[in-house]
Amino acid sequence: MTSLLITAEEQEEQLAHFMQRIEAEDKIEADDWMPEEYRQTLIKLISMHGMSEIMGALPEKEWVPKAPTLNRKLGIMAKVQDEMGHGQLLLRVTEDLLLPYGKNRGDLMQDLFNGDLKFHNVFHMETKTWADAGVIGWLVDGAAIITQTNMLKASYGPYARALQRICAEEVFHAQHGESIIMALAEGTNEQRAMVQESLNRWWEPLLMFFGPASKETTGSSKQDLTIKYKIRTKTNEEFRQLFFDKYIPRILSLGLTIPDPTLNYDAESNLWSYKQPDWNEFKKIIKNQGPRSQERLNLRRHSYEYNSWVREALSATVR
């Protein structure tokens, strides 16, 4: 009888072969052998991404029934539906990775509810006006495009393929958001004031979006691991600088003011210097203690539990 146990030497060979595949930019598939650290890094990254899409639908959804024209109603409904679709796609990718542990989507939901699985810090923020629907679409999705397009060549095939579709749709979302912002920025004094006020509130969350520059800020960071395994190639700070490069000129061209008088571009280093966001606030947000963290979690938890009879009924039909 052949032993299923492999020797330490064989394990090392397996790992070396895996890292060769990573270095050769080969795509790792769901059924391939992968080191535990790689699987865990992917689960953490993709489940958080998936849940962020689902939880991220909630702040925008607040404005769906209130959208001010028929076209805006159609646009924002389609946009929020896309986000739920991204969540579904990513949770399916995560479910395959969870197979060895016997966990499923229901377990991920429970992890979200008990705080073990986090959702993106930007979706813990409050929305106050219609301009927020525009800023989320234009700048939050714009920030997401920057981080997600960097992973289009991720070493894990199923994630890279899901991102192809997600990024294509995010481009439409950013255009949808930009269109809302343009209408307001070119509108009445009140509309222009509404956009400026919204930008003032969202500027700091947008800086936090990319995470701290190093793990010293919060005590831990997955950015080194994701770079090691060629899931992504750039650091948090590089992403933030790319965001500045792309959006600062666009924001200014609309006649808006960026709420940071210290913001400055250094032509020699090609880097922006800026006022750091409140990283202590960030630490609170990622512990689900942000402005709307508990309300949003509660809304999802409540609706999930209140309708549990539907899932039970469907399982009974399948049996």
Partner: protein
């Protein structure tokens, strides 16, 4: 003024205006209630599918409002957002809340009610759309052909949900039966044309109320027989007739929300 308008008698124009408002307001309110469900459906897949149907329905409403705009009744966005409750022509079924609570808090939305309302409403919409494809008013007949293509999937979707939940646990059956009672209580004005009944019917804008009711009953009979259920009875007299501008407080509350941003400045470009 287009060629259709030239040929219209004032009575014909009044009838088509009324019918278009009924169709537009029905889909507008149905879609609005659907949009409140976003992010809260029992399955992520159910969320995606039902919000797709809500989007399509809003698209249908927008198409009807545009036909009204073409008739000179008013600008489409204004018609959708500015009219007060007693000027609205939607069935009271479409305006009813999804359940207890406001969508911004932690509402107790009832999925059984969503399924029954959607299935019965979509089936009624199919009966109307089939009839509208033969309408004497060509623009609405052309619009109906487009709606019919999407409606095929909506109806199939909700019928599947209806059958599955009616065929499962005792809890589900109880909730579904309670929802059927609630939906049928409000069904009295779904096939009503209100005060414009005679003009709408004699001008052959759409089939008669009686024909359509009969078609609806016939169309759902096989599903009910297969489930060993009695086909529900459409009330002769509606509790309130939305076609005549009679509505519930649910509509008043919905109008405040759906026009909140628009009303900040109705003449601004949004």
């Amino acid at each position: 003024m287009n060629s259709h308008e030239n040929l219209m008698s004032p009575e014909y124009k009044e009838a088509i205006k009324d019918l278009l408002l009924q169709l537009a307001d029905d889909d507008f309110m149905y879609s609005y209630r659907g949009s409140e469900w976003l992010g809260l459906a029992p399955h992520i897949e159910a969320d995606i599918a039902s919000s797709s149907i809500s989007q399509d329905s809003m698209g249908h409403a927008a198409m009807y409002y545009k036909l009204l705009e073409d008739l000179g009744v008013g600008e489409a966005n204004e018609l959708a957002h500015c009219r007060v409750a007693n000027e609205r022509k939607n069935s009271i079924l479409t305006e009813r809340v999804n359940g207890e609570g406001y969508y911004m808090d932690t509402p107790q939305y009832d999925w059984a009610y969503a399924v029954v309302r959607s299935y019965f409403y979509t089936q009624a919409k199919k009966i109307k759309i089939d009839s509208l494809c033969e309408s004497s008013y060509r623009p609405v007949a052309e619009a109906a052909v487009k709606v019919r293509m999407e409606l095929y999937y909506h109806r199939l979707h909700w019928e599947t949900w209806f059958k599955q939940l009616m065929n499962s646990t005792e809890v589900a059956k109880k909730k579904m039966n309670d929802a059927i009672t609630l939906v049928m209580d409000d069904f009295g004005d779904v096939f009503s044309y209100g005060n414009q009944k005679q003009a709408i019917e004699t001008n052959r804008l759409i089939g008669t109320e009686e024909e359509l009711k009969e078609n609806w009953k016939e169309s759902i009979t096989p599903v009910f027989l297969a489930l060993q259920m009695t086909v529900p009875f459409i009330p002769e007299k509606p509790i309130k007739n939305g076609r005549n501008g009679e509505h519930t407080k649910d509509l008043d509350e919905a109008l405040i929300t759906l026009s909140e941003v628009y009303n900040l400045d109705p003449v601004a470009v949004w």
